[in-house]
């Protein structure tokens, strides 16, 4: 866990402590479990986004993909009586295919990632709405897929804590992503391509493949998240379902240390970023803050957190420079660069 992750963790703990102090119900098992459930769902697609951000791209269609694939998933199992395992596989395949298309357009056709995924945002949303004729897709009353429901939206009691399965899913995804990013050759290539694509090519890395893979991973994970979210809401209004989620994902990734210039970011950071965003949502409701202020509170806390982090870093740098004369202060311009 690096310093950046640590200060994010501290921020989360501080916010949590403040909330608990004002309303101790924050720590109720039920509340924590609900929040954890949200973290599970949002964390998975935030990790998906992080993969693309690390290679220096961006994925804006997350929310629309969640809507489109969610609608299709429900439609498959409810209206077409497809076996849910088959449907599950089909949806994941759909996500991977979307990623493949995005990656190919970016690398082979040389279109800016922002443009490609913005078009994706528009097209998938439109497709979802057209497909359902703007009607809400849902399970209806009594429709029941006990295994699927238990697997995706259920909770298992672990030492008295009802652990949502979405958290288990996030844990598995994060663990694999962590190994992949921080320990495998492929991860190394992701960072290399993100930082300096030309140099990566000079080093014999097939950067196009790396970029495409990142989009494919992103697509697959987003599809997985889409299923979890569909099973949580059990109803999808195609016009609004998942909208703005790309901003959540990007915010979580950026809070967690990803730079939009590519080449930076850690999985732990992204998960912590998601936790912070969800705790903030929870806080607004628990403290009875007018919901109109929900967004404002979120924005303010993030800003204060980032400012505090920056302030502490500058102080730390100043003191170490005094204490250890050999230490480098020249890192300042570099960190500036990182900060951008």
């Amino acid at each position: 866990m690096n310093k950046k992750d640590l200060s994010l963790l501290i921020l989360i703990l501080v916010v949590g402590a403040v909330v608990t102090f004002i309303n101790p119900r924050f720590l109720l098992v039920g509340n924590l479990s609900n929040t954890a459930n949200q973290v599970g769902m949002f964390g998975i697609f935030s990790i998906a986004e992080a993969f693309v951000i690390i290679i220096g791209g961006i994925e804006l269609s997350v929310g629309s993909v969640i809507a489109l694939l969610g609608v299709l998933f429900i439609d498959l199992i409810v209206n077409h009586d497809v076996n849910w395992m088959l449907a599950f596989a089909a949806i994941i395949a759909g996500g991977l295919a979307i990623g493949l298309v995005h990656g190919t357009l970016v690398t082979r056709m040389h279109i800016q990632p922002f443009v490609v995924t913005l078009c994706g945002l528009l097209i998938y949303r439109g497709a979802a709405r057209y497909y359902t004729e703007d009607a809400t897709a849902g399970f209806g009353f009594g429709a029941s897929f006990p295994t699927l429901e238990w697997l995706t939206a259920g909770r298992t009691n672990v030492l008295g804590f009802p652990l949502p399965h979405s958290v288990v899913a996030l844990f598995i995804v994060a663990a694999i992503a962590w190994v992949l990013l921080h320990r495998s050759v492929f991860g190394r290539y992701l960072y290399a391509v993100g930082k300096n694509e030309e140099a990566a090519r000079y080093s014999g890395i097939r950067s196009d493949r790396v970029v495409i893979s990142a989009y494919i991973i992103c697509g697959g994970l987003t599809a997985f998240a889409a299923i979890l979210i569909a099973m949580y809401t059990r109803s999808i209004s195609p016009a609004v379902h998942g909208s703005f989620y790309e901003l959540y994902a990007i915010a979580a990734a950026v809070l967690g240390g990803c730079s939009l210039r590519g080449g930076e970011g850690s999985i732990i950071g992204v998960v912590l970023g998601t936790v912070l965003l969800q705790v903030l949502q929870n806080l607004v409701n628990l403290l009875g803050i007018p919901s109109s202020l929900n967004f404002a509170v979120m924005g303010t806390v993030i800003l204060i957190g980032v400012l505090g982090d920056q302030y502490l870093m500058q102080r730390r740098r100043a003191t170490t420079a005094k204490a250890r004369p050999q230490a480098s202060v020249a890192a300042a311009p570099l960190e500036r660069a990182n900060a951008e």
Partner: protein, 295 residues
């Protein structure tokens, strides 16, 4: 001590002026219910998941009763049941009849649509083409209103040829009206299904100098809509009575929690009928609105 009071919450499906009136009703109820703390909650987005989250958090915070206008009642049934199992649940605005809610208080959107249909027939005695404007054409309230309209005008010479959606973006809403005027020179009546649609129609027609030449039928009680009705350029508007939902709903809920279940009918449905406002009764209505919203 506020913390000791029982919390009753009114959770709406999205921010709009319409709910301001309900909020006024809730406020009035608060004045009569000193032992309760009444909260009025807007989810930050009109999405089922977001609303669900608000309710989950309210339950976690220990709310004694929740009255909700579910975003998607059909599919939210199970989650509503989850809420109902932990607290007293009322529904309003759009019912979830299959759920374990204690009662529904509100109006029927289909009925409101039918009223609007009648207004259209009256405004276009010799028939004509109509276009509707709405925020989210897929949302239940929109669908039911449109259905109601269509049911009423079926067989007549009045036709609803298209309904344009705008994602609740006012710029788009106004733009849609402009574009329809350009695309269909022969349109003879415009229907605003959401509260803000009617004022946008009014403005565009006013700017185009077509007030009076093209009929306007509206829903809800936006001040501009009422002004237009009063002026005679809007044929009429169909309003609900959210003030009553808020006021009566909260009082009923408090009574229910206090053990008095006499106010709840057997089927649990309490319909507060809508009203048609036209030139004849607009002044009275505006006066009573003013009185309601006075703080």
């Amino acid at each position: 001590n506020a913390a000791d009071k029982k919390v009753l919450a009114f959770v709406v499906n999205g921010a709009s002026d319409f709910w301001k009136i309900a909020e006024a009703g809730v406020k009035k109820a608060q004045g009569e219910l000193p032992n309760f703390e009444l909260q009025f909650k807007y989810p930050e987005q009109a999405a089922a998941a977001v609303q669900q989250r608000v309710m989950d958090d309210l339950v976690a915070a220990g709310a004694a009763g929740i009255m909700v206008s579910a975003v998607d009642p059909k599919n939210q049934t199970e989650q509503l049941n989850k809420v109902a199992s932990q607290t007293v649940l009322f529904t309003t605005d759009s019912d979830a009849p299959a759920s374990k809610r204690v009662a529904y208080i509100g109006s029927s959107n289909t009925d409101l649509g039918k009223e609007a249909g009648k207004l259209m027939l009256k405004a276009l005695p010799s028939g004509g083409k109509c276009v509707g404007f709405v925020g989210l054409p897929g949302a239940d309230n929109a669908r039911e209103r449109i259905e109601g309209v269509k049911e009423t005008i079926k067989g007549s010479k009045v036709e609803l040829v298209d309904v344009r959606g705008d994602e609740i973006d006012q710029t788009r809403a106004k733009r849609n009206v402009e574009d329809i005027l350009a695309a269909m020179p022969d349109v003879s009546c415009l229907v605003g299904f959401y509260s803000y649609n009617t004022p946008r129609i009014y403005e565009v027609l006013k700017e185009a100098g077509k007030l009076g030449k093209i009929q306007i039928i509206g829903f809800d009680e936006d001040p501009i809509t009422l002004g237009g009705v009063k002026e005679g350029s809007i044929a009429g508007t169909v309003v609900q009575q959210p003030f009553e939902w808020g006021y009566q709903g909260m009082k009923l809920m408090a009574a229910y929690i206090g053990g008095d279940k006499s106010g709840i009918p057997a089927n649990g449905i309490i319909i507060v009928p809508g009203k048609v406002i036209d030139k004849a009764n607009v002044d009275d209505f505006m006066a009573s609105m003013k009185a309601m919203l006075k703080k």
